[in-house]
């Protein structure tokens, strides 16, 4: 009579010759889902596995897509480091210097601005916030020609603000500080009780001291999040350095890799794969270490750069 009580179960079990228990169904469900997971993971890893395998393969033949190279060696990586025409290590260095300095400056000015927007009530505050959002609607790529021309004009008089200068790039990246990230940090600062600031102010602290000694330490999680995302964004940026940098020794790794690939790929595919691995590795490692900040940031609306 039990089946009588549960019509749903009767209906489902009836046509089947071998009625499955709940547990069996659960395991079949798992099996199907794991199978799908495997297929998806293969899809996700195709390029990764290929580039890793090819970078250790020195047989010089591209035509045989073997998964595990027959004579694995580090020759490609050696060639990469010693390459005279394509200074990969230099490019990596450039990328790191540019991305690190820009990230520090950008996160700092983002936070300072967010602090002002969160803690001060001043004339024009709302208007300013709207203006910041409005200005950031304009996709950066669209103004690349205008930027190029401005940089050219400035460079006529101040050479370190001109074309082919890392300082120019860093300044432009720092100008990305007033982006949507300001609102993220502001939102976070809003959630830190103002009473903390006020008691310090009563004790005679300046706003600068409150910012340095109370706000910054408390805002660390959100700062790490935007710092990581900013760094990833700048490190991986392509258009700006492609347009603004000219001489080979000044290039960033992304532009260098692109130029190498389009110029010399057929002869040097092995070196390219080694370069791709080297270029991606630091970001991958950083990502694995700081995963929780990145995912937390993404779910709260952060963006790269």
């Amino acid at each position: 009579m039990a089946n009588y009580m549960n019509p749903a179960r009767t209906r489902r079990a009836a046509p089947s010759a071998l009625p499955l228990t709940m547990k069996q169904r659960k395991y079949i469900g798992y099996a199907v889902r794991y199978a799908i997971a495997v297929v998806l993971i293969i899809f996700a890893f195709i390029p990764v596995v290929w580039v890793l395998s090819a970078s250790f393969n020195t047989s010089g033949s591209l035509t045989s897509p073997q998964l595990i190279p027959r004579n694995p060696s580090l020759a490609n990586y050696q060639n990469l480091i010693q390459n005279q025409y394509y200074p990969f290590m230099r490019w990596m260095g450039n990328s790191f210097v540019i991305a690190s300095i820009s990230t520090v400056l950008s996160v700092l000015s983002t936070t300072v601005a967010a602090f002002a927007l969160s803690r001060f009530r001043f004339y024009g505050r709302e208007t300013l916030m709207r203006a910041i959002l409005l200005v950031n609607i304009f996709p950066g790529v669209l103004s690349i020609i205008a930027l190029y021309s401005i940089v050219q004009q400035l460079g006529n008089h101040v050479s370190f603000l001109g074309l082919n200068s890392h300082a120019t790039l860093i300044l432009i990246y720092t100008s990305g500080a007033m982006s949507i990230n300001v609102f993220l940090v502001k939102g976070y600062l809003d959630s830190i009780p103002r009473e903390l600031d006020e008691s310090a102010l009563v004790d005679g602290a300046t706003h600068g001291q409150v910012f340095r000694m109370i706000t910054l330490p408390l805002a660390k999680p959100i700062l790490i999040t935007i710092a990581v995302l900013t760094f990833m964004g700048i490190y991986g940026d392509f258009v700006l350095p492609r347009v603004l940098l000219q001489s080979s020794d000044k290039l960033t790794i992304m532009v260098g890799l692109y130029l190498f690939q389009s110029a010399d790929y057929a002869q040097n595919w092995g070196v390219f794969t080694a370069g791709a691995v080297v270029a991606a590795l630091p970001i991958l490692v950083a990502y694995l270490l700081l995963q929780k900040y990145i995912i937390g940031g993404l779910t709260s609306g952060a963006v790269k750069l």
């Binding site: 889902r33 983002t110 304009f138 006529n156 300044l171 100008s175 692109y258």
Partner: protein, 518 residues
């Protein structure tokens, strides 16, 4: 509170230091402004003046101290974000581009620097000296035997042994060294004559140029601009050049290079919207631009959501998630280049694999449809992890009571998903979807890096490709193969901007970034 009652909290005054910073920054900016005004570059000078205003006001007035905190960010945004936008608007109304890059003043300055050797000019025999830093000076001997020393950017001086850096004279009467620099061998001169010809020694109006292996001559300015009549006069030939849409043109039609840019109103927009030759390629580009952005978002979101739902409560979810997110942290450029290699028709590993399995493979980089499919597939690969993360987050926000209640009412998994999870989730992620559409609509990197917008559209008057989107077409106009049609490129940028602005305005209505949480 003991830590806070620390004596470091004693206010430090700091008014003079503050003013000093403002003064230094202002001085540097004003110096730059003066130079830009010299160039005739008034817009950039004006925007720098705005920066001076921001710095002075925010540092000068205690009442505006909040702006002091914002000043660095504001200055940067004004100079590198706001000004480029305004400048793009301005560019779109000019003919700025190949041959019309300079301002009128810069073009005039450039032309006025040109020199020529008049028939009646003084000529000299010369000897060149090169110092270790590569700078060149000349020893000149005139027909009457008088000698001179001339350097770049300095007045020519009479040449006397032992004076003014001139070393001892040799038997032929030429110094062995000048300023410690040694004589250039006649042999090495041959190969360097072209470079030496370009140098101008001494100061105008008595500038001296090398004219041949044996002679240097006093040169005079060739062109002079008559501001009152707005004409450029050529002293060598006596011809007058009048400015016509950014070029000095003689009556015979002969033109002077370089030209300069002038305002041409809405002509760029007319070209974009109404040029019959461009219409075909532009229609292709715009259609593909929409298809590409919509399908990319749709498929990436669908896959991301599918994964999020499917693995939501699966044992081992953490590992699966870590593995599936792998495309996200890899710099997009690296991934795109790798995909490009995998799909290379000559030696791509995936192409070989499909050929081995099925006997043939789509021509990924040369066939328009196949290339488009490849681009969307790669974009899905690149962006599903983002949607996976976002959807997972959104799933946590759906109250489980609602799902439980539905279960009690006899709803099955699919019914619950369709009527509860999906609608709620769409509400949460719709701003992200809109933003992602706007981003992909201008996703230059993927298009440019994967195949530079190729394969090309045959017969297009301006080179364009089947996978070009508007923004990559703009890049072509600006930076490819010396097209450099900045005016048209800026006009298209403005159209794109308007489009994205509308999308974002819609998006803002659903988000509440302005709220002050507390």
């Amino acid at each position: 509170m003991t830590a806070i009652a620390n004596k470091r909290f004693i206010p430090t005054g700091g008014i003079p230091a503050r003013w000093l910073i403002a003064a230094v920054v202002d001085a540097a900016l004003l110096w730059l402004i003066a130079h830009l005004i010299d160039d005739g570059n008034y817009p950039l000078a004006l925007i720098l003046l705005v920066l001076v205003g921001i710095v002075t006001v925010s540092f000068g007035f205690e009442r505006l101290r909040a702006y002091r905190w914002l000043s660095v960010g504001l200055c940067m945004t004004v100079l590198f974000v706001l000004y480029p936008i305004l400048y793009t608007f301005y560019l779109s109304t000019t003919n700025n581009g190949q041959g019309h890059i300079l301002t009128k003043q810069q073009a005039i300055d450039f032309l006025e620097r040109a020199q020529y050797v008049p028939e009646t000019g003084q000529t000299y025999a010369w000897t060149a000296y090169e110092s270790e830093d590569g700078s060149i000076r000349l020893w000149l001997t005139a027909a009457d035997g008088s000698t001179y020393v001339t350097r770049i950017g300095e007045e020519t001086q009479p040449g006397v042994a032992g004076e003014d850096g001139v070393g001892e004279l040799d038997d032929a009467g030429t110094p062995v060294t000048i300023d410690g620099a040694t004589r250039l061998e006649r042999r090495s001169l041959l190969t360097r004559l072209d470079a030496l010809n370009d140098l101008s020694f001494g100061l105008p109006p008595n500038a001296i140029q090398i004219t041949s292996m044996n002679a240097a001559a006093t040169t005079v300015q060739r062109y002079r601009y008559d501001a009152a009549r707005d004409v450029m006069l050529d002293h060598q030939t006596g011809i007058e050049y009048k400015p016509v849409t950014g070029t000095f043109v003689a009556e015979t039609g002969e033109e002077l290079r370089p030209g300069f840019f002038v305002e041409i109103g809405a002509r760029n927009f007319e070209r974009f919207l109404a040029s019959s030759a461009l219409r075909g390629p532009l229609a292709t580009i715009i259609t593909w631009n929409f298809v590409y952005a919509i399908l990319s978002v749709l498929f990436s979101f669908a896959l991301g959501l599918f994964i999020a739902v499917l693995f939501d409560n699966l044992p081992g979810k953490r590992i699966i998630r870590m593995l599936l997110i792998i495309p996200y942290p890899i710099p997009a450029l690296v991934s795109i280049l790798i995909w490009r290699n995998l799909l290379n028709p000559d030696f791509g590993a995936l192409v070989k694999l499909t050929q081995d399995l099925f006997g043939s493979s789509p021509r990924w980089l040369t066939d328009p449809t196949a290339t488009r499919i490849a681009i969307i597939m790669i974009n899905v690969w690149l962006s599903y992890p983002y949607f996976y993360i976002v959807s997972s987050g959104a799933l946590q926000a759906i109250p489980s009571e609602m799902l439980d209640a539905a279960s009690v009412d006899g709803a099955n998994v699919f019914q619950k998903f369709r009527s509860i999870t999906l609608p709620l989730l769409l509400m949460i992620v719709s701003p992200v979807l809109v933003a992602s559409f706007a981003f992909n609509f201008n996703n230059f990197n993927l298009i440019y890096i994967f195949n530079s917008g190729n394969p090309p559209i045959a017969g297009s008057p301006i080179p364009a490709g089947h996978t070009d989107i508007l923004i990559s077409f703009v890049y072509r106009l600006g930076f490819d193969n010396g097209l450099a049609d900045y005016g048209l490129a800026a006009a298209i940028s403005i159209v794109l901007f308007a489009f994205v602005a509308v999308i974002t305005w819609v998006q803002f209505r659903y988000t509440r970034v302005f709220e002050d949480k507390s």
